[in-house]
Amino acid sequence: MVEAKALAKRFGEFEAVRGIDVHVRRGEAFGFLGPNGAGKSSTMRMIASVSPRSDGELKVLGMDPDREGPRIRARLGVVPQQDNLDTELTVRQNLHVYGRYFGLSRARVRAKAEELMEFAQLTDRADDEVDSLSGGMKRRLTIARSLVNDPDLLLLDEPTTGLDPQARHLLWDRLFRLKTTGVTLIITTHYMDEAEQLCDRLVVMDGGRIAAEGSPSELIARYSTREVLELRFPPGEQEPAVERVTDLAERVEVLPDRLLLYTAAGEAALEQAHARGLRPASSLVRRSTLEDVFLRLTGRSLVE
């Protein structure tokens, strides 16, 4: 569906994307995980065929975006980072107007709009102005709008940023349903839980480059341990504790507010720490996540 080789994007002196190789297969959910400014959105815009590449090769649906942009865009669904709905039109009108840009007949967009409003759980708001919708509803409408042309490939740029937990889960559920119908998804996110929930395969991006690639579980297995022990100390006590725990884990990350001990057996490490007389204010044993993978790969947190 997408084939990129040494793909690069420059804005003047600034290199947003520094030569990445990406291969997205039909039917999969592919993720770009990375912090803000990693080059995810620039990559998405190039795939969306609204931003010419500066270097490298790019094929989307087998076509070159530089030469066949409109033909590619006819088969894409795009959910931009910021909603760009027509806020002075109703929910239904937004779908009608947008669908027409894809050359669909009036009858077709009318039928499709009903179907999509049901899918997005917006049927009872069909004739309300977009201005009156909540953030989560607007997001669902943006996603519904992106499906009006039955796209082969759906691009979602930070689909749940800024939404409350309940709205996020509802949205994930909708995206998961889409995935089961065979739509290929490409998602950018800086939330590791989102990437874990939705992506079959993902690349970790940092500073315009790909730092690692694989399925969420592969990445965790490759770059982290099975469990993580988190220790929080009262102010001033963390620093002296660091050297006393280094040999309890394969690796120790020192964050401003806590220590992360990477180990196969978290509970055992916690017992040993207690046996050494360490008294953390709180402790937590958890499984490794993509957040830990990112920390390992870049030395930084995803959300800062």
């Binding site: 609204v50 931003s51 760009n84 107007v97 027409r100 840009y101 007949s105 042309n149 739509v183």
Partner: protein, 276 residues
Amino acid sequence: MSERALTARPRARDHARVVGSWRAAWLRVEGHWTWYRRYWTSNLYSSGLQPLLFLVAMGIGFGSQVEPGAATGGLSYLHYVAPALLVAGSVQNAIGESTYPVLSGFKWQKDYLAVTSTPVTPGQLLGGQLIWVGLRLALAGTVYALIAWAFGAWLGPGVALAVLVAVATGVACAAPMMAVAATTYDEGTRFAAIFRFLVMPMVLFAGTFFPITQIPPGARWLAWISPLWHGNELARGAALGGLEPLAALGHVAYLAALFAAGGLAARHYFYKRLVV
């Protein structure tokens, strides 16, 4: 139901496709029309009725104090000023429609980004905007013309041509203004300046209320380069007669050149802003 419907492959004629350029621009007009149908009353008031207030105040009120003379071509002031008010209103509308609404498409509402994510290109989007402005002007101009007719402001059917002139002059001004809007990245403070220092003086001095022969010769070129003067001359020629064919051709050529240059610049900057 939704899942099944989403997976069912659409019939061939229901497939998304790339439409031709004119069709794409027209679809943009259709989108605007959907919006306009919701808000037409307030729009028509500001765009169509405002020039009428001028007509009543200047043409009938102030005009009652003006003797027909050489400056008005021997006509009543109402007849003299009515065609020019039509064009002046049209130009102000056109420029208004090409400033904040266009900037909003790029910056606030961002609906231009939504449109150009579809097969529609920035150039087609611009075309749709210009056609839409033209249609709005035609509607407002017609409303104005009909009501002014009830006041007895027209001498004959030439007014129909004057409405066309008003639309053309407005669209010729809209094209360069859209180029300006596409290069505006702040909150649009320059639009207020353009209105105060370009549009208002142009309305006052480019032959709308009095002939430009009253302007000192040294400053008269300011009127000559203003698109409104060319539009005013054409509209008066259409409504009242007495315009030399060669002069008419010159005015048309000036407006056509403005439209072409402005349109090309706008197209350039639309691409520059939307394809980055």
